[in-house]
């Protein structure tokens, strides 16, 4: 792997940037692998990277029906935070934030992780009580979070309107300073490059059409490039998980729905942090390119249409303008939808399935990007050892049978 540094940049500048290597190969699939991962998004590529880098398992393929990082990894609003209420979630998401903090150095790839702070607004007495409860719970779990008065919130984020006459006035805010954003594409590319350099085959334009099992054990996958034998298979296909798992005859506790986001025209730096509001349901940040990045809600019905309803956008933009009247004349450039797989308790599933050798990492719903490194790291551990890492051990598929749910639906400090 060609290492990136100021020196390699200078050296290549002298040769007109004509000698940069490709970041990863485009190999044809081998007939058999130790582990096949379905889905080359951030979580899947990260899993392959950690399998090779931490567990020495390099005979691995990542199969992708489109191009790598072309699904939700390249469509999300890139918000990173770990202020989840329950102990299990706090451990998982904070494990991720800690990995984010060293990720650019580890991958020798600038993922542009920017800890600019994630601020969640309170608009009524209930919000104030809930957010303060969250702050105390987070501190007990070693997750940073602090309470701001409306004036302090305004100082931290100057475009914010704290007008008392607003329909939903700002009564305070919770601020996680370690939260922030990252460059979503770079995460997929960085993991892909790191995995490829360690011998992982990333096979794009290769759709999985079937999962073959023999006597309750997975033996490989049928693909558009033929049958590929595998000792273990990891399904990391986000919104298509129900569809892929049905190939193995498994029905999942998931519903796939469209989630929308949009960006404005690029402007000069005006917005220094990430702001979220659950009561009016809006979240917004500014990318390093200058676009305002705005996240909307999900549609209410199962769909794979990757569009989303206009009324959802209207609702979100109403909320944004209520909080930031300064943006009333900004033009929106692009809008898109991604398909997210939502679990009944809004917590992910990372672990084994009833079929030997078949593993699944899914159910990240509307908030999987922030967890990319932690999810990939613990899932790689699970695949390598056949047993979960202590951090992902509670996030089993069978919790929907035992009843031991991790019910972040009401607790995640995010609107659903």
């Amino acid at each position: 792997m060609q290492r990136y540094s100021i020196f390699s940049l200078a050296r290549n500048a002298f040769t007109g940037h004509k000698n940069w290597q490709e970041q990863w190969r485009s190999p044809e699939p081998q007939p058999a692998y130790d582990i096949v991962i379905i889905g080359a998004g951030g979580h899947g590529l990260g899993t392959a990277y950690y399998l090779a880098a931490r567990h020495g398992i390099r005979n691995v393929a990542v199969l992708e029906k489109g191009w790598l990082g072309g699904g939700n990894t390249g469509r999300n609003t890139t918000i990173i935070r770990s202020n989840y209420l329950y102990d299990e979630s706090a451990r998982l998401y904070d494990h991720s934030v800690k990995l984010w903090e060293g990720l650019s150095q580890e991958l020798n790839y600038n993922v542009m992780f920017s800890q600019r702070g994630v601020m969640m607004l309170a608009h009524n007495v209930h919000d104030v009580q809930v957010l303060k409860r969250h702050i105390y719970a987070h501190r007990l779990n070693g997750v940073d979070n602090e309470w701001l008065t409306p004036q302090q919130a305004k100082t931290f984020c100057p475009p914010l309107s704290i007008d008392k006459k607003a329909r939903y006035p700002v009564m305070g805010a919770a601020l996680q300073r370690r939260g922030g954003t990252a460059r979503h594409d770079a995460v997929a590319w960085g993991y892909a490059r790191g995995a490829d350099a360690r011998g992982v085959d990333i096979i794009q334009n290769c759709a999985v059409t079937g999962i073959r099992t023999e006597r309750g054990r997975v033996v490989g996958v049928e693909t558009t490039k033929g049958f590929i034998r595998a000792k273990k298979v990891g399904v990391v296909t986000a919104g298509h998980t129900s569809h892929v798992m049905a190939m193995a005859g498994l029905r999942m506790p998931l519903e796939s729905v469209p989630l929308q986001a949009l960006v404005s025209e690029p402007v000069k730096p005006v917005f220094p942090c990430v702001v979220m509001s659950n009561t009016v349901h809006a979240y917004i940040s500014q990318s390093d390119k200058g676009e305002l990045v705005i996240g909307a809600g999900t549609d209410q019905y199962v769909s794979y249409s990757q569009r989303g309803g206009m009324q959802i956008l209207e609702h979100t933009l109403e909320a944004i303008l209520e909080l930031f009247p300064i943006f009333s004349r900004m033009s929106m450039l692009r809008q898109w939808g991604g398909i997210v797989d939502v679990t009944p308790d809004r917590s992910p599933i990372i672990g084994k399935t009833p079929i030997d050798g078949l593993y699944v990492n899914c159910g990240w719903g509307t908030g999987g990007f922030k967890a990319t490194p932690g999810s990939a790291h613990t899932f790689a551990h699970t695949l390598a050892n056949g047993e979960p890492h202590p951090i992902n051990a509670p996030f089993t598929l069978d919790r929907f049978e035992t009843g031991r749910l991790i019910d972040e639906a009401a607790a995640a400090a995010v609107a659903h």
Binding site: S256, Q300, S305, G309, Q311, P344, G403
Partner: protein
């Protein structure tokens, strides 16, 4: 936004409706004797198909009545509308 043909009121905009999720999931009879797995299937397991989906809708801001819809989840095209208790029409099964 979907244009949903309520069987009682005719075509109305989606904002008048509330989605009730997957249809034809019957509550287990004799609940006290059912296994945890049966309860899991009833409470949590959903088909989430990429294709025809049978689902319930409620005309919340209209007649307030429930009905079933068959919809293609890839195109969002509504293929059939039928009343509660009815089985899906032959044409979309």
């Amino acid at each position: 936004m979907l244009l949903i043909p309520c069987p009682y009121c005719g075509e109305r905009a989606e904002i008048e409706f509330r989605s009730g999720g997957e249809a034809h999931i019957a509550r287990p009879a004799a609940p006290e004797s059912r296994s945890d797995a049966a309860w899991r299937d009833y409470l949590f397991i959903r088909t989430s198909p990429k294709g025809v989906h049978f689902e319930r809708w409620n005309h919340a801001h209209g007649c307030q009545r429930w009905f079933n819809v068959a919809r293609d989840t890839v195109t969002d095209e509504i293929l059939a509308v039928y009343r509660m208790g009815d089985t899906p029409p032959e044409t979309v099964r």
